[in-house]
Subunit: 359 residues, 2 copies
């Protein structure tokens, strides 16, 4: 059977002041009516029902997950007492699923990305499962880049021996590349065989556990122990695992070391929604390029601005270009849109000051 | 005796959203603790006590004046039912003062200007009274310009025959010039004999009434009638006057037509506080050139910004240059500071829309 593991542990700060330490991005309805987590679950519902979806989150957010996904079985929520990067998440999830269904395969998916073209995404995901199930492969989904982005990792394909599965190209991975500088990113884009690493992976639990046993043997043992004691010990078993496991990413710990990894290059309107700038880009704009999500806005000679307000206040803009105005109950952010990623600096400053309550 | 007539009828819109139609600039504490009207009265208190100060305001603001100046005799507040520009204000005030004190002289002063150097101002005002009382002259106070400002009227002096009074230069006025275009303003500045028209005038009531009789004879008659019936008819007499009087400025109606007008060139840190930009310029700045008048502000890489907030909200700025953020109970203005004079456009838009309640 097919399972999904949704990683919802992020404590993202780049959507401050709407996102807070107490309620990060994946639990917010940044785009549309539903939260990003709800949308992620709904998106795959045709392929994988909620009974076979595991949500891995910070234990402080477990109640938020229950609230937002009331139909998800409670035992499918794994609350991490501490964050230990992505490899332990995958090891634990694979061991748990494998103990329930030894022939199970699983997709690892982020909880907070935007995907415009759901149909194509599901078709790609289905193909990835097919590839993973057919030949005991590790499969990852790569996004065809259209700008020299320096904020993502890249995957280089061996384009010379591409195959096909479910109507989609599938290639062996040549290398995984870390976030590049701009010059390198331009070279990657021009080379044509580099893809953005979307953080979405598909494999059978048996295959990925074998890889853990080989490359991270201690983590493998810890995960198997967790799976064996979870039913009897519950959160204690989870705590024991997380408090002792090594902190390492799945990319560094497994993907870069595995002998053969396949990648499916895809285009389905993917956006990692990394900052307010991404929201601005995803929303419909008026003739002046403005996105005005406030009950009342008055604009004089302003272009390419973004306004989001939770109050009934009149928001007025005069003479601005590319400025974002985000107002919540207790905070107001005014930000040059092309500096939106620096909002996290503000949150760091708050942590280190007497204004910690605003985080 | 010396009197002061303070013009407090403005319905300025350039300090929106702090100023409102219901509470314009002169009634706000834009700089310091006291309102601009209170500061104006206090500034001249050594020279002229409140018993001899007349406040001319829109009748809708009479209660605000009483509230802000509780020691001012109530009969010294003249509430205009409609605005008729400045000549009727001066005519009415001169006739009223003259009926109380035939030898009285009066200063006409705006209620909403900033003056940094009170001592010098008082010395200039005293000199202006002295000049006005000595030879039956019309006297005006001119400000030495230091930039080619296109927003003010100018006064050209006859520098060749300057005199001196109370330690200050006094010259005859050659011409009054309307607000110039930039090229002309630069020429004025370079010429050296042009001054900014501050809108401050001093004369004996007898002399100015003679000028009204000559240049605006109907207005003169109406003002004398008002002064004669004010005690018995009260507001009715005022209403009769304003509803029938011609609308004309004192500059156009009298100053430009009078045979001889004197001007005292002065420097006392004058600012007409025409927009939020002026407030920014008057306030102390931090090392990044920011003025942060909010209970809590967090700033990342922003320079020359102005923040004013009436809430306890945390205001955060990221990557901004020269942007003003003004937050009141029901409105939020974000404005490029060098476009601050265009805030009035927003207020005009509000008047013509369903958002009139925000004006």
């Amino acid at each position: 059977m097919r399972y999904a593991v949704i990683m919802a542990g992020g404590t993202g700060t780049r959507f401050w002041p709407k996102s807070r330490v107490a309620k990060p991005k994946q639990f917010l309805n940044l785009i549309g009516e539903k939260t990003m987590l709800q949308t992620t679950v709904e998106r795959i519902s045709e392929l994988i029902p909620e009974e076979r979806i595991l949500i891995i989150t910070n234990s402080g957010y477990s109640d938020l997950v229950k609230e937002q996904l009331p139909n998800l079985p409670e035992e499918n929520i794994i609350g991490e007492p501490v964050g230990r990067n992505t490899a332990p998440v995958v090891a634990a999830a694979a061991a748990i699923i494998n103990s329930r269904d030894p022939d199970g395969s699983m997709a690892v998916l982020p909880s907070d990305h935007y995907i415009r073209d759901r149909k194509t995404f599901l078709s790609v995901l289905d193909a990835a499962f097919e590839k993973a199930e057919s030949g005991h492969h590790l499969v990852t989904i790569g996004i065809r880049p259209y700008r020299p982005e320096t904020g993502y990792g890249y995957i280089q394909q061996k384009t010379e021996d591409s195959g096909e599965v479910g109507g989609h190209t599938v290639s062996e991975v040549k290398t995984f590349a870390e976030k590049p500088d701009l010059e390198t990113a331009i070279r990657f884009l021009e080379a044509g065989d580099f893809l953005w690493n979307s953080g979405m992976f598909v494999w059978s639990t048996r295959v990925i556990l074998k890889e853990f046993k080989k490359h991270l043997p201690q983590m493998y043992e810890q995960a198997v122990t967790l799976a064996g004691t979870l039913k009897s010990d519950g959160q204690d078993a989870i705590n024991l695992f997380y408090n002792n496991v090594e902190s390492v990413s799945i990319d560094y710990g497994i993907m870069e070391k595995a002998d053969t990894v396949y990648v499916i290059p895809a285009e389905f309107g993917w956006n990692d929604v990394g900052s307010w700038m991404a929201i601005y880009e995803l929303e419909d704009k008026d003739k002046n390029g403005n996105v005005l999500s406030a009950s009342t806005t008055s604009v004089a000679d302003s272009q390419n601005c973004y306004v989001y307000s939770e109050s009934d206040k009149l928001v007025a803009l005069v003479g601005l270009q590319g400025v974002g105005v985000i107002e919540t109950g207790d905070a107001l952010l005014v930000c040059r849109m092309d500096r939106a990623q620096d909002v996290k600096k503000i949150v760091e400053d708050l942590r280190n000051s007497s204004k910690d309550s605003f985080r």
